[in-house]
Each structure stands twice: as C-alpha cells, then as structure tokens.
C-alpha cells in the first residue's frame, strides 16, 4: 500500500516522461569516495538520477520520496551497520536493488551481504566498472520494474 502511494506521488512529481530514468541512491560517509563514485556513475548513464546520503538517518527518509531503483550501501556507516540497514530497506521495499560496498573482499562479507538480500557486493578497492555497467543495465531493463511501473501507471 505504502509503496503504491509513493509511486503515485512520484508520478505526479516527475511525470510519465521520466519513467525510464534509473534512480540511484548512494549511501556512503566518506565524501571524497562518494563524490567520485557519483561522477563515474553519471558518466556511465547520463540519464540516471542520483542522490546521496552520508548516514543511515539521512538515507532512510529519502527512500519513500525518492523511491530509488538502486542503492549503493557502504557496510560501515557512522550511525548504523550498512548490512542491517540494507536488510531493513529490503524488507520494506523488495524491488529496490541494493549493492553493498565494503573494504574487504572476503567471503564472509559476501555471504553476509547476500543473506541480507543484497543484489551484489563490491570491494571498494578493486571493483571493475564493467561490472557496475552491466549491473545498471540489468536493473534498468528489468521486466519486473517495468511491469510494475506500467501496471501502476495504467
């Protein structure tokens, strides 16, 4: 119900023309990393709408209004555990794809991220942009997302 309301609200605000634009939220406390990551994402998909949040407290209120399709979530946030936050968001909004960012490319992290419903897992130090590109493409062309939108619009 809640989600439906968010979508109706968003439809009014953005209009139908913006339907295909992918909306992305970056939750990361380290500003330099966040900024460069955002720039690179924008370069990858200029139509993408990107918003940023430095903390969990900043991020959570944005989700209903912004209704992102994709969230990049740092594991370590000053006010929360990113994994737990991801789990919480996923429980309410199963359609949002969440990508967990971490400093350690360890199987324990990977497993923990997947357990909490994350779509993917990226090591901040060693990820590859091709990976992200295919991820974004797969999300924007997702039938479920599209179908969902149209069904809500009609």
């Amino acid at each position: 119900m809640e989600q439906k309301r968010f979508h109706l609200l968003e439809k009014r605000m953005t209009g139908l023309g913006e339907i295909d634009m992918l909306k992305t939220l970056i939750v990361e406390d380290y500003a330099i990393f966040r900024q460069s990551f955002k720039e690179r994402l924008q370069m990858l998909d200029p139509s993408m709408v990107i918003q940023e949040a430095a903390t969990a407290n900043e991020a959570l209120p944005m989700i209903p209004s912004f209704s992102p399709d994709l969230i990049f979530m740092d594991v370590r946030l000053p006010d929360a555990n990113g994994l737990e936050l991801a789990k919480k968001i996923k429980a309410r909004n199963p359609n949002i794809a969440i990508v967990v960012l971490t400093d350690y490319d360890l199987p324990e992290y990977r497993e923990a991220a997947v357990q909490r419903g994350a779509k993917s897992f990226l090591n901040k130090d060693s990820f590859n942009w091709e990976e992200i590109k295919s991820l974004v493409q797969s999300i924007s062309s997702s039938e479920s997302r599209r179908g969902n939108r149209y069904s809500l619009a009609s």
């Binding site: 994994l83 971490t102 324990e108 992290y109 923990a112 130090d125």
Partner: protein, 962 residues
C-alpha cells in the same frame, strides 16, 4: 300505686261524708215528729260534719258541710224542696252555717293531725329504743348485722358491724369496701364463698379481717333472698367477732402441741396405761423402741407389745400401782428392747379421785452402763498415757522407748498384745512387743502392700490414719490373720501411725479380746499417745541431728581450711602437676585415707600415666605407671568421664576393684579430672580403715579434684593461648609473604602488560614503516619521476602513473591487514561467528598441518556484544599458543550455550603441560599468557578453566553467564 291509695282514701272520705250527712238528714226527718221541725239545722248537721271530719278528714268534712248546707237550704228552710233564699237573713244564716261547718272540719282536722303526729312519734320512739336495744345486744354479743336491698341499692351495716370492721359509721358501704378489710390471705376464700352464696349455697364462714386494731377473726353468716327468677333481691347477714375465741383456740392448740412435743421429746420411754394394761398414749421414744408410730401403739396391750407376753410379767410395777394406787419402780432387763431399763409407774386419777391410769416411764440404762465401763477403760488409758509420757521423758533412745511403750500399754491397758512395727521396705518389722500373746507375732507377717498389706497395720501405714478392726471374725480384710488371731483370743485390733518428721515410720498395733473394743474416745486417746511417741521420735532424731550437725560443722571447717589452702597453692603453682603429690597427701591425711593415685592422660600414647601416688610400695608403682583406658577403676573413670565410688570392696567381686582390693583398700573413690568436658586424668583416694565414705568426704574429694582440674585447665589454657598467639604470628607472616608474592605477581603482570604494549607499539610502528611508509615513499618517488615527463612524453607518463597503482593497492592492503590484526572490523560488521570463521580459515591457511574443526552452536544474536571481542581474543591467544607450543595436529573450537552460560572451548591434541607449573612459571616470567587470558575472562564476568596434563592435550574452557 301511691296515687291509687289517696284516691281510694278520697272516695272512702266522700262515701263517709255522703253516708253520715244522709244519715243525719234521715234521722232529723224521722225525729221531726218528736221534736218538731224547728229543730235548728246546726244541731242536725254539725255533729255529722264533725263525725265525717273525724273519720275521713278535712276534705270529707268540707264535702259534708257543703251537702249539709244544700240540704238545709233545699229541704229544711223550704220543705218544698226548692232553693229559695230570698231573704238576707237566710243568706247570712246559710253563710254562717257553712262557715261554722268549715270551721268545725278545720278544727277536727287540726285535732286529727295533732293526734296522728303524736302517734308517729310514739312509734318512732319505740323503734329507736328497740334499735338501741339491738345495738347493745349486738355489742354485747360482738355480733353485727347488715342488710342488703338490691332494689334500693342499699347496704346497711349495724353499729356493731362498723365497730367490728373499724369502718366509721356513715361510710357508704359496698361489697368492695367490705372485701378490702378482709385479710389478704383469706380474700380468695371469702370471694369464693360469697360467689357460692349468690348461687344459693349457705353462707357461713370464718375468716380474718385487718382493721386499725389489728387482725381479727369474724364469723359471717348470711341469708339471701331471691325472686322467683333467681335474681338476688337482698339479704340479711350477721358478723360475729370471734377473735377472742379464735385466740383461745389457738393458745389451746399451742399448749397441746407443746405438751405433745415435750412428751415426745423426753428420751425416756413413756406410756400411759389404763387399768387393763392397755396403752392409751405412748411417746415417740416408746413407739420408736417398739418399731411403731405413737398412733399405732394406742390400744395395744403393754405386756404384749413390750415383753411379748399374754399377761403382765411378775415384776410389772403397773400391776402393783393398780393394786395400791401408789408409785412403783422396778429395774427391768428386756433383750428385745436392747438392754436394761428403770421402770416407774405413777397413778393418774380422774376428778372423783378414782385411779384410772398410770404413767409408765422406762429409762434406758444400757448407755449408762456402757458409759461406766468406757469411763473405766478411759481412765486406764489415761494412766497409760501418763506412764508413756513419763517413759518419753526418761528414755532417749528409740529401741528402749519402743519396748517401754509396748510394756506400759499392754500391762496398764490390759491388752493381750501390743507391738510397734517399723516400715522396712515392703515389710513391717516388729521393733518391740509386749503382752501375754506376744508369740502371735512369730506366726504372722505384715507388709505395707499386697495381700499382707491390707490389714489394719498395712492400711494404717499407707493411708496414714488410725485403722480399727472391730472383729477378726467378720472383717474380711483381716482374713490372712484370722485363724491365728482367733486362736490367740483376739477379736478386735487397732493400728495407729507413728511419725518421724511428719512421715509414717511405723505403727503401734493393739489387740483386744472383745469385738468392738475400740471406741472413739479410746481411739482419740491412743492417737494422742502415738502423737506423743512421734514427738519423742522427732526429739530423739533432732538431738541426733544436732550432734551430727556439730560434727559436720567441725568437719567442714577443717575441710574449708584444707580447700582454701589447696586452692591457694594451686593458684600460685606454675606446674600444678608437680604439686599434686604434696597436695593429695594432705587431703589423704584429712580424709583418713591411706592411698591416692593421680593418673594423667597421655594423648600421644593414648594411655594414662601415673603422675603421683602414695600408700603403695615402690615396685607396685612401677607396675601401674601406665594404665590403659577401661582398665581398673581409674581406667574406667578416664574412659567414661564419670566418677566411681567403690565401697565395701571386700564383699562383691568386681574385676575393676581387684587391684585396689589387693592393696587392702576397703573403700575407694575415683573422680575424673575434667577440663572443658574432656577427661585429662583421674584422682582417686582409698581407705583401708572403713568400708564407706561419707557424702561430705566424697564432696571434698570431688572439690579437690575439680580444683586440680581447674588449675590444670588454667595451665592448659595458658599454653593454648601461647600456641594460638604463635599460630596467629605464623599466619600473619605467611599472609604477609603471600601478599608480597601477589604484589610481585601484580608488578610482574603490569610490567608484562606495559612491555606487551610497548612490544605491540614497536611491532605496529615497524609494520607501518615497512609497509605503508615504504609504500607511500615509493609512490612519492614514482610521482616525482612522472611529473617532469607529463608535459614531454604524456604517453610514457601515463604508463608510469599506471605502475603506481599496484603500489597504492599494496599499501591499501597492508593497511587493511594491520587493521585486521589490531581489531578485526568484521567483528563489528558481521559478528563473532563470521570473525571466528574468518580467523580459522586464515589459521588453517597459515598452519596447514593443524586441522581446525569449528562447532558453533549459538545464534549470533545470543552473544552479548561486549563478550564478542573477549571470545575472539581468547580464541586468538589459545590458537596462537597451540600453533606455537602444543605440537598438536587437531584443534577443536566450539561455542555452545550450556545451562544459561556461553561456553567457549578450545581443545587440542597436543603435548599438554602441567597447569600448576605453567601458572607458577607465568606468575614470574614468560609463560603462555594464561593469566592475561584469565584476567580478560574474569573482567568480563566469566571464568576460565584450563585442563591439561603432559601428553594429554589441553582444553581451555571459558564460560560466561548469560
């Protein structure tokens, strides 16, 4: 009715008037021939008027006058019969004639009236007189009367009636007024009777009334009249004042009753006999003696009723009195009446002096005779009592006193046997006896209880009161002794308790040849006698006590002196054991003992050691130097802690006293030396001169023993105090040393912590220098090299920059690794399980020869956050130890929840170690860091347990409450 009467009378008057006037007129007419017609008319009619007035009164006179006037006017003045008063003279004459007639009538009437009045007065006078006569008569007869007229509603009382009832004349009388004066107790009766009288029954009653003069008795009689319908019309009654008669009657009754009471009260048997020996009257005593009531006696023949004879007996004094009319006396024995009587007969004469009866008085002499006998016996007993009292004063010993008492009572009291029995356990043993039948006691036994204890003597002792056996022949409780008692000629017996200090100690038992020999007074006297004997016994005893008390006082003074000396010596003695010898010798002498032994317990030898002794040869002393517990008297006392007193040792064989008996000891007492409930030895004394100790001697021994024990206890306490002070000292020293050690360990620990901290810093510094520092230096060098190339050869510069990236990556990884080593962020990001899993994986990678098994059976959420780092550090430390020291090839790591505790176990199959030695080693230096592990666990509220043995592997188990 009343009107009818006057009418009748008027008619009669009219008739008379008409008749007389007519007669007078006729007479005149008849007489006219003789006297002529000129006869004046008044001569004709005045007498007639007068006669009529006399006969029928004034009214008739007037009528007669009127008629005469008419006749005169019609017939006499004018014989033609017509009214012709024509002349005035005629009219005047007629008027005068009429007036005279009226006057005559009037006069006659006046006369009649006066006559009538005087007649009524006469009658009334007569009535009054008769009334007064009646009143006087009533007053004299004390009889009043009353009359009731229901129609007139009138109750009239005579004067006497008023006087009797004390109600003033003139009071309006009703039945209620009368009833109010009736005595309250009689009111109901009077009411009933009056009600009955109203029903027609005769009313003649006697009852009391209450008047101002007090209570009176009256007799009331009444006759009531009723109309044919039975309704009360009225009545007449009389009231007779019968108070005096009644009082006289009552006085007479009282006198009669008094006389009868007196007659009946006389204890002598009195009968009034007529000349044919018939009983006219008998008093109660007489009747009772005959078993009859006085009324039943009346009419019986005296000789039949009293003596059972059909004719008067020879000695009958009444026969003599009848013969000579004088008083006669005879002494008569009559068994059927139970004894001897003194009989007197006194003649009774009638008014003419004829002898018609006798007063027959029989006085019972039986009691009198018995009393005489009793007095004789009592006198004898008084003599006995006084002789016994003399003996009491004279004799001061129990045995002789008993013998003397028995002798006196038997001889003076003339009893066949008298004996005094003493209570000895269950038996009553004769202490003294006297009398011709004294052998009887050899044949019988008396006890306090049982079959032989329920005779007079036994009962007397048990119940502490005199017991009288009235007849051996019939008393069932004397059955066990009946045959011998009767054989010895006893019929009665009595037993009296003898007391000493208020307690029954024996009896005085007496026997008599006659049944019922002991009467109350004798018993009282014998009781008094026994009280005197008891008093004497008390006096003898008291004298004995006094002498004993004096002796005891002397003894106890000596004992006190001895004890105080002993106590003083013991108190100053440093070693009481040493002075026991001297001390016991003094006590021994005082107690008239010849032997003493003092054994002391030797704890190490678990035997008794002879400390001091006296009175036996030296070689004997050596024999008993050591004594086992339970052997001999002292051994038993030491074993049981209870004193043993052996007296009359010569008699009963007892294995314990064999030894002392062999020394010729007759009495022996051994007391334990008790200190705080523990036996520390024994002290015993023995005498060869007598078979018993007195309680005082035993008490002294006991006191000396206690004093010695107390002195020894004091020494023991002093030694114990010394020892405990020393112990305390040692413990303080030990504690101080321990504290020093702990302090040292603490110092060592903190220095170890400090050095560990320094080592860690040194290691981190070195690592930072070697890794990140080196990396950054290399980057800086490379960037500096690239910078000048950027403008000139951009392509080469780009390539050069690319080569920097791996270096940076290396630096980043180094940084991550260092961070992981310092504190794995994973613990906070992912939790304990993931971290341990990561740690084990890495451990496995490094130490591939050691196989690691993980067993984690706990939810991540169940682990309290503060414990996560502790558990991780313990695991890290333990695993590092295993890798470094254990030579194990298998490690098992487990985290479980056990009994509300979290339990972390790291187990290896390595060479193991001795945990004690390892910890001891650690507290000084080196070691495996167990103490820091333990410290960590303890600080976080858990406990650490290390199980290991050389060659047996190691289990480290840390657990925390949840």
């Amino acid at each position: 009715m009343i009107r009818n009467v006057s009418l009748k009378r008027s008619l009669i008057g009219c008739g008379i008037a008409v008749g007389v006037v007519a007669t007078a007129f006729l007479l005149r007419q008849l007489l006219t021939g003789f006297v002529g017609a000129d006869l004046p008319t008044y001569l004709t009619f005045y007498p007639a008027v007068m006669l009529v007035a006399i006969l029928a009164g004034f009214g008739a006179g007037l009528l007669a006058t009127g008629m005469a006037a008419l006749l005169a006017a019609f017939w006499i003045l004018h014989p033609q019969g017509q009214f012709a008063v024509t002349r005035l003279s005629d009219a005047v004459s007629l008027a005068f004639f009429s007036g005279m007639g009226v006057l005559i009538s009037l006069l006659v009437e006046l006369y009649r009236r006066s006559r009538r009045k005087s007649a009524a007065y006469e009658k009334e006078l007569a009535l009054r007189e008769s009334q007064e006569d009646l009143n006087r008569a009533q007053a004299v007869a004390h009889t009043g009367s009353w009359r009731l007229d229901v129609r007139r509603n009138e109750l009239v009382w005579s004067d006497e009636n008023h006087r009797i009832f004390g109600i003033p004349k003139g009071t309006s009388m009703t039945y209620e007024t009368f009833l109010a004066t009736v005595h309250p107790e009689d009111r109901e009766y009077v009411g009933q009777k009056w009600t009955a009288a109203l029903r027609g029954e005769p009313y003649d009653i006697e009852h009391r009334i209450v008047t101002g003069d007090g209570v009176k008795w009256v007799r009331e009689r009444a006759e009531l009249e009723f109309d044919p319908q039975g309704v009360l019309r009225g009545g007449f009654g009389t009231t007779q004042d019968i108070t005096e008669r009644k009082q006289a009657e009552q006085a007479m009754l009282r006198a009669k009753q008094e006389w009868e009471r007196t007659f009946d009260a006389v204890p002598d048997l009195i009968a009034i006999l007529d000349d044919r020996h018939r009983i006219l009257r008998a008093n109660r005593a007489m009747a009772q003696r005959l078993g009859l009531t006085p009324a039943q006696c009346v009419g019986m023949l005296c000789h039949k009723a009293v003596h059972g004879l059909d004719y008067p007996p020879d000695f009958c004094p009444h026969t003599l009195t009848l013969a000579d009319g004088r008083e006669h006396v005879a002494e008569v024995h009559e068994d059927s009446l139970g004894g001897d009587f003194l009989v007197s007969t006194t003649p009774l004469a009638d008014e003419q002096g004829r002898h018609i009866a006798s007063v027959h008085v029989a006085r019972d002499l039986t009691q009198h005779k018995l009393r005489e006998e009793r007095i004789a016996r009592l006198t004898k007993l008084y003599a006995v009592l006084s002789r016994v009292n003399e003996a009491i004063v004279r004799v001061h010993d129990e045995g002789p006193l008993y013998a003397e008492v028995c002798r006196i009572v038997a001889e003076e009291g003339e009893f066949p046997l008298v004996w005094i029995g003493q209570v000895k356990e269950r038996k009553v043993a004769p202490a003294a006896s006297h009398g011709p039948a004294a052998d009887y006691l050899k044949e019988i036994r008396v006890e306090v209880e049982g079959e032989l204890g329920h005779g007079p003597t036994g009962n007397c002792i048990r119940e502490d009161r005199p017991m009288i056996n009235d007849d051996f022949d019939t008393n069932p409780s004397t059955a066990p002794w009946r045959e011998p008692a009767l054989r010895y000629g006893f019929r009665a017996s009595a037993a009296f308790p003898l007391h000493r200090q208020g307690k029954v100690v024996g009896t005085l038992t007496l026997y008599a040849a006659e049944p019922d020999a002991f009467d109350t007074e004798q018993v009282n006297l014998l009781e008094a006698l026994c009280a005197d004997i008891s008093y004497a016994l008390d006096a003898i005893q008291q004298e004995k006590f006094r002498a004993e008390a004096e002796q005891r006082l002397r003894d106890s003074e000596a004992r006190f002196r001895l004890l105080s000396e002993t106590a003083g010596r013991l108190l100053v003695a440093q070693n009481p054991q040493a002075i026991v010898n001297d001390l016991c010798r003094d006590v021994m002498t005082h107690l008239d003992c010849q032997v003493f032994f003092n054994f002391l317990a030797d704890e190490e030898a678990d035997r008794l050691h002879l400390n001091a002794c006296a009175g036996i040869p030296a070689e004997e002393t050596r024999k008993i130097e050591w004594l086992d517990y339970g052997v001999g008297v002292s051994g038993c006392v030491a074993r049981d802690g209870v004193r043993i007193i052996a007296e009359e040792i010569a008699n009963p064989p007892d294995p314990r006293t064999e030894l002392v008996k062999s020394y010729g000891i007759q009495a022996y007492a051994c007391h334990p030396l008790m200190v705080q409930g523990r036996v520390i030895g024994t002290l015993s004394f023995g005498t060869k001169t007598r078979p018993n100790f007195t309680p005082g001697e035993l008490a002294l021994m006991r006191t000396v023993t206690d004093q010695v024990a107390a002195a020894m206890e004091r020494m023991t306490l002093i030694r114990e105090l010394q020892r405990s002070r020393d112990e305390l000292e040692t413990r303080v020293q030990e504690r101080t040393a321990e504290l020093g050690r702990i302090n040292e360990a603490l110092r060592h620990l903190s220095s170890r912590i400090l050095s560990a901290q320094e080592d860690e810093r040194k290691r981190i510094a070195g690592e930072l220098h070697d890794t990140i520092g080196a990396c950054l230096s290399a980057i800086k060098f490379k960037v500096e090299n690239v910078l000048p190339q950027i403008g000139k050869t951009p392509k080469a510069a780009t390539e050069s920059l690319k080569t920097i990236l791996p270096v940076i990556q290396e630096g980043v990884e180094d940084c991550r690794r260092i961070q992981m080593d310092l504190r794995p962020p994973m613990l906070d990001d992912l939790g304990l399980q993931a971290t341990l899993s990561w740690f084990c994986r890495r451990f496995q990678m490094i130490y591939s020869e050691i196989q690691v098994d993980q067993e984690i059976k706990m939810e991540e959420d169940g682990v309290p956050s503060p414990l996560k780092i502790v558990a991780y550090r313990i695991t890290q430390e333990a695993m590092n130890n295993i890798a470094k020291h254990s030579k194990a090839d298998r490690v098992r790591l487990s985290i479980r929840k056990v009994n509300r505790r979290m339990e972390l176990t790291i187990q290896d199959n390595g060479q193991g170690f001795n945990p004690k030695k390892a910890l001891a080693l650690e507290s000084t230096r080196g070691g495996l860091g167990f103490s820091s592990m333990r410290e960590r666990v303890n600080l976080s509220g858990g406990s650490l347990d290390i199980e290991s043995a050389e060659g047996k592997g190691t289990i480290i188990r840390a657990s925390w409450p949840l």
